[in-house]
């Protein structure tokens, strides 16, 4: 099972909400879809979920086009929107039962499916509650349960963690890990990049409708490794070391932070190793010398400008 997005475009008048984006992800992979507000994430996800039509381009799910065969594509996709709209006079169980019916699941199988989904998403205790009486976290769980009713191989989740309390967020993260282990291909957008980094195998970074970077997390981190930050904690003579570091060829910037120095350095792991050798050879005693790992958040901050159209 593979999801291929090919040259997808969606224009609203002169606004290019999605401008020629292409990427792919496969079963068992969780991909983060990252970008500032108004970057085009929701539009692209709605197209993948067959809720919107692209101006040009296409996306296929296991070879099924979301433009040409939206009905077949819907069987393969579970879409979790950023908010569960308020449906009046409908209980959680009725809501899930409706979708099970809508996907053609027949009884007595249907009752079992709905029960198992309620159990998996921890909704059994609130199945008779009305949807409009639920909290944000509960609604997100209902939304996820609805997306899982027909056991789709692909899950598209638009900001599922937005507005959730820490406990609900942890629960959602664990659910996603389980789903990923079950072999589902998951595309998830979120602004909580630290959490996204924990569950994602890869990410697509998008701004103003265009993809800035896409690939596995390792690839992204590797690409961003040309500029690295080293933390040095010297045993005294900090000011002296600060001055000497600034005169060295690969050093971009040095910032004193308490008793430590944060050094931005252009180069590879070898350059870091050379730097340590030089410092020690100049007679400085070092308590600590470590590279700070670049995270998704830093990559995001480095390559996006926060501009909207």
């Amino acid at each position: 099972m593979k999801v291929d997005v090919a040259h997808l475009k969606r224009y609203f008048g002169r606004t290019r909400a999605v401008d020629d984006i292409s990427f792919s992800f496969a079963s068992g992979q969780t991909f983060g879809f990252v970008g500032p507000n108004g970057a085009g994430k929701t539009t692209a996800m709605r197209i993948l979920a067959t809720l919107d039509e692209p101006t040009d381009g296409d996306a296929t799910i296991d070879g099924v086009s979301v433009v040409e065969e939206p009905e077949r594509a819907r069987r393969l996709v579970g879409f979790v929107p950023d908010t569960l709209a308020t449906h009046h006079d409908m209980t959680v169980h009725d809501y899930l039962d409706f979708f099970a019916r809508a996907y053609g699941i027949r009884n007595p199988h249907r009752d079992r499916v709905v029960h198992s989904v309620e159990e998996f998403t921890n909704l059994l205790g609130i199945r008779e509650k009305f949807l409009n009486a639920l909290s944000k976290g509960m609604k997100q769980r209902v939304s996820l349960a609805r997306a899982l009713v027909h056991d789709p191989p692909v899950l598209i989740m638009d900001e599922p963690a937005a507005g959730l309390d820490p406990r609900a967020r942890v629960e959602l993260r664990e659910l996603l890990k389980v789903l990923s282990r079950q072999g589902k291909a998951i595309l998830i957008s979120s602004h909580i990049l630290t959490e996204l980094a924990e569950i994602c195998d890869g990410a697509v970074i998008i701004e103003q409708g265009r993809i800035l970077r896409a690939g596995s997390l390792n690839e992204l981190l590797h690409e961003s490794a040309a500029l690295r930050t080293v933390i040095i904690r010297p045993n005294g003579r900090g000011d002296e070391l600060h001055k000497e570091l600034l005169e060295m060829p690969d050093i971009q910037a040095v910032r004193p932070v308490g008793h430590e120095l944060e050094v931005d350095l252009a180069g590879s792991d070898e350059t870091c190793s050379d730097l340590l050798t030089q410092i020690v050879s100049r007679g400085y005693r070092i308590y600590e010398f470590r590279q700070r790992r670049v995270g998704l958040e830093q990559i995001f901050m480095t390559i996006t400008k926060g501009e909207v159209q």
Binding site: S65, E71, R75, F79, L84, G104, I105, S116, V149, V178
Partner: protein, 508 residues
Amino acid sequence: MKALTALATRLDNAANPIVVKELRQAVQGRFVSGLLFFFLIVQLLTLGSFVLFSEHVTTNFESGRDAFNFLLGILLGTCIFFLPAYVGLRLAAERSGSNPDLLFVSTLTPRQIIMGKSVASLILVLLIYSTCMPFMAFTYLLRGIDLPSIFILLAMCFLAIAVGLHLAIFAACIPCGRGSRFLNALLTFGALVALFSSTLGAATGMIQSGVGSWINSTEFWAGAVSLVVLAAGAVGLLVILSLAMIMPPSANRIMPLRIYLTAVWLIVAVLAWYWAGQTGDVEFLESWLVGSVILSGAGVLGSVSERDSHGPRLARSIPRNPLLRTGSFLFFTGAASGILWALLVAIVSFLPFWAFAGCLPATVRRPPDPDLLFGAFVFSCYCFAYALTASVIKRAFLRDSVLVPYASTIALLLVVGGSILPVLIGYFINYQSWYGHDFFSYWLLGNPFAVLFSKPEYIRDAAVFAGGWAIVALAVNVPWLLGQVTAFRPAVPLPPAKPPEIVTPAHA
């Protein structure tokens, strides 16, 4: 017991999910139960007042009729305004972009959605009827109205309510922005007001004329059948239009509509011909012709807004058999197929009157009105001339700047411009002698509606003008039309894809 359970399960599985959802929401909500209680209270109070407080209840022989009239007004008002508003607003909310989950993320087909909404809303009407009918039947005991009249009028109102509900469903399906949503609601409300007033007016007239007493006459059944056919036709058209609105753009959205319209058009033609043979009246045939002209005119003006190319989805459904393919071309979505379909409708509509005039049933009392035929023909020419010109303008000059769905707008702008600009120019040129001018009418030649009100001499000139223009516009479009027909080829078949299976989730 097991058999009963199995039957219940089978029925449950066969039920439309939308109907189940709608009825569950109706039962759990306050609107419907509130409405039912409201009806019970109003009817109890109304009938109670008539019985208890009417001074001449024993001598007044019209109490029942008055009470029935009052209750019918409330029933109609509720079912033609509140119920369509309830159904339409809910559907519009479910269709809005901010509310995508309920209808469009699942594999429910457009047909299931529309039929589900339709059936559920009609069940609500029956629910309301079930609270009203006992009280309305009771008015018979108050005198002034008979039981057949009561049931005939309730049946007639049910038809009107069904039309109103489907109008609301159709209006809710039209994709529109915030501004046009208001206009859409306003137009729908206007149509519902017209439906309410005409139904109530007809019902009052029928009560006063004692409709129950005609039940054995042919006229009654002819009228009743006509009404049922008319209402069923309107409901069918609204359902088909609603379906077309919610089908994915890549689908053959126009096919159900064209098949439906063609079928209705042919059935009415046969009925009109039969009627002319039986009664000798050609009015029905003439009405059919006028309807055909409107159908082909609207068809060609709407068709230019359809796309010029077929996507892979449509290409896959094009028949491989050349004969079938030729016939199906007219029913596939596309500007060229729409223009040719409208042209065929127009030609076939006029043909019996001119080519086969001698074949009209021998019993007809008079031949069809030649002025009407000629006027209809000229109007038809105008429709084709404007639409085909818009199609050329769109393709030749505005291909990149105007979206395909707005090509009809170009045609309508041409109609408006062609109707108004020449008159304004003529007025300014002949300012001094405008009203006494001999060639006043020539400035109206661009106005297709002028043929409806003008003298035969003018219509002859208009025929030359519009006919010539339509022929030139058609000739200019011929290469493109032929190209479209040639390009109507089935896609190369792909290996059949295995449909995804629905299984119990792995976490179960």
